[in-house]
Symmetry: C2
Subunit: 333 residues, 2 copies
């Protein structure tokens, strides 16, 4: 059925593959009749998992891929040598047009390299940034780039800002998203060489709502909707979210269990607290798109469970329906 | 009394000057008879505050400085033109040898610039990094550099690593401190150009305990004792501590007040929680030393209260007694 949005899914990627990946795929096609999933992986393993569910007819297909790229493998070599791996075969389905998107919880390095080499960038796009949605106290923001292109140039950051704007507006529904560049102070003359060069270029873009510098301190409270930065800095931001979040929650738990009085309090507080903190958990937000490619590639957490796989697959529907790549081609290139 | 450790203190610096600064100075000299404080600021204002306390004889002296450098002023210009400001006069006391150290809660930019221009670097030290102590779930770590020298070179980072090691060992009492370089992955081949170039240089240093890359995720849980990075990245790390911490605590409070049940629990949990979270509050850790100068310069938070001013002053005693600068001269230069 060619009216489906076709999503290739790396059935072997991540800590919980193939069981949780297959489960997530089944949940996605059960929830939406617009999508067809191509489960790419070791046929016998995938079939065994799939046998546990009732699957809507014609919405799931298995594509055999006997090889697996491990997280520790050097990505460029892995992509070149393992032609029969789930990542290479899944990406080729996008490249040849059979699929609109590819979702993987596997090796980040291999997904990034594969995206550039196999799927390929939209003509005119200089670099493809990885852009996860991150939680803020007022909603969410897009962090672009969080790890794909270290030592980026100013012209790359400008394209990131414009692609990020399109994504936030048309996928996340944020009207006229505020674009900020990560800086070490609010003033225009602050920053390192990259930021100082990029700042006036962003200021001159009349198709984005550039609000200037955003200090890292203001990102978690929603200081910008599109947070533009070079990949090394973006990676540090993302990992500090996890690191500080994890450490603080550990301290909160320790504090709550430190006295008898607080232990009783903890029992009362727990359900409400759990609910609130869930909104601040990075893993709730599905996968990070690798933007600017000839098709969509989504990287989900290595620790993804079925719900994140499902959300990542469903995210591909909006990407296709909102014609994000057509907009990128028209507005940027 | 020349056997005192003499500390010049910027009486006009920070949001709570001069009241809290003077109070902190009085508390410091009351707590330790080893230290003498030179309160540098508008004489009348300082005198008025000082009149409120009993001061140990001979341990506090006022140095009149009628000008004030504001936070928003361009630092280089301010240092050059405001010769009678508390920052310029305080630093000159260190330069000329009257004082061993200078403590300021004033303009970070002016303190950094003044440190380099007025106090001057130890001969052979290429850059003077700002190195705050940050909390971790297992104690503290030193973040070096957190904002003094953007676009640093590999040789700078190597000196940071060695100075940071000396500081952690002899001031914070961490034996053989583990030195890590902030990176976007644990493997040696990962990173941007700066990290890739610096990594083998650090590996070759036999006077430090280099443990390789540390991912930002692992900093809050104590992944390294000395966290080496370029200033832009360090600033992002420091500000993410504040930003994620602030946002999460806000969410925790919101969660606790969301139901009647959790509200009751919150009352019971509050005292214990407050105690634990205090240990994770950046502001508890006094000032950040600017290392590698001919004398010690300590930058405390702009929002410092008396307790932080006091801690920053007392910190100067250990710095002098442990002969940190002699060690830097011997081991590094």
């Amino acid at each position: 059925m060619s009216e489906y949005i076709n999503v290739a899914v790396d059935a072997m990627g991540g800590d919980n593959a193939p069981a949780e990946v297959v489960k997530g795929a089944v949940e996605a096609v059960t929830e939406s009749n617009k999508v067809k999933v191509f489960l790419v992986g070791r046929e016998a393993d995938v079939k065994a998992q799939l046998g546990r569910y009732d699957v809507p007819a014609g919405q799931i297909e298995i594509v055999d891929a006997p090889e697996v790229i491990e997280t520790a493998e050097p990505p460029v070599e892995a992509i070149r040598s393992k032609k029969d791996s789930s990542i290479v075969k899944g990406m080729k389905l996008v490249k040849e047009g059979t699929c609109d998107a590819f979702v993987s919880a596997g090796s980040t390095g291999a997904v990034l390299v594969g995206g550039q080499i196999l799927v390929g960038r939209i003509k005119g796009i200089q670099r493809a940034p990885l852009a996860p949605v991150i939680p803020t106290t007022s909603g969410v923001a897009l962090l672009i780039d969080c790890g794909a292109n270290v030592d980026a140039r100013p012209s790359h950051l400008v394209q990131f800002a414009r692609m990020g704007s399109i994504y936030m507006e048309h996928i996340m529904g944020v009207k006229n998203p505020r674009v900020g560049i990560v800086n070490i102070g609010a003033e225009e003359e602050k920053g390192n060489a990259l930021v100082k060069e990029t700042f006036p270029l962003l200021k001159a873009c009349d198709d984005i709502n550039f609000i200037g510098s955003v200090e890292a301190r203001d990102i978690p409270s929603g200081g910008a909707d599109v947070v533009v930065c070079e990949a090394f800095v973006g990676n540090v931001i993302l990992k500090m979210y996890e690191g500080v979040g994890g450490a603080l929650i550990q301290e909160v738990k320790k504090g709550m269990l430190s006295t008898l009085r607080s232990k009783i309090g903890a029992l009362l507080v727990k359900p409400a607290l759990k609910e609130t903190l869930k909104a601040f958990d990075l893993e709730q937000y599905g996968g990070a798109p690798l933007l600017g490619l000839n098709g969509l590639v989504v990287k989900t957490h290595g620790s993804s469970k079925a719900v994140e796989v499902k959300n990542s697959i469903l995210q591909c529907i909006a990407f296709k329906e909102q014609k994000i790549n057509d907009r990128i081609r028209e507005q940027i290139v």
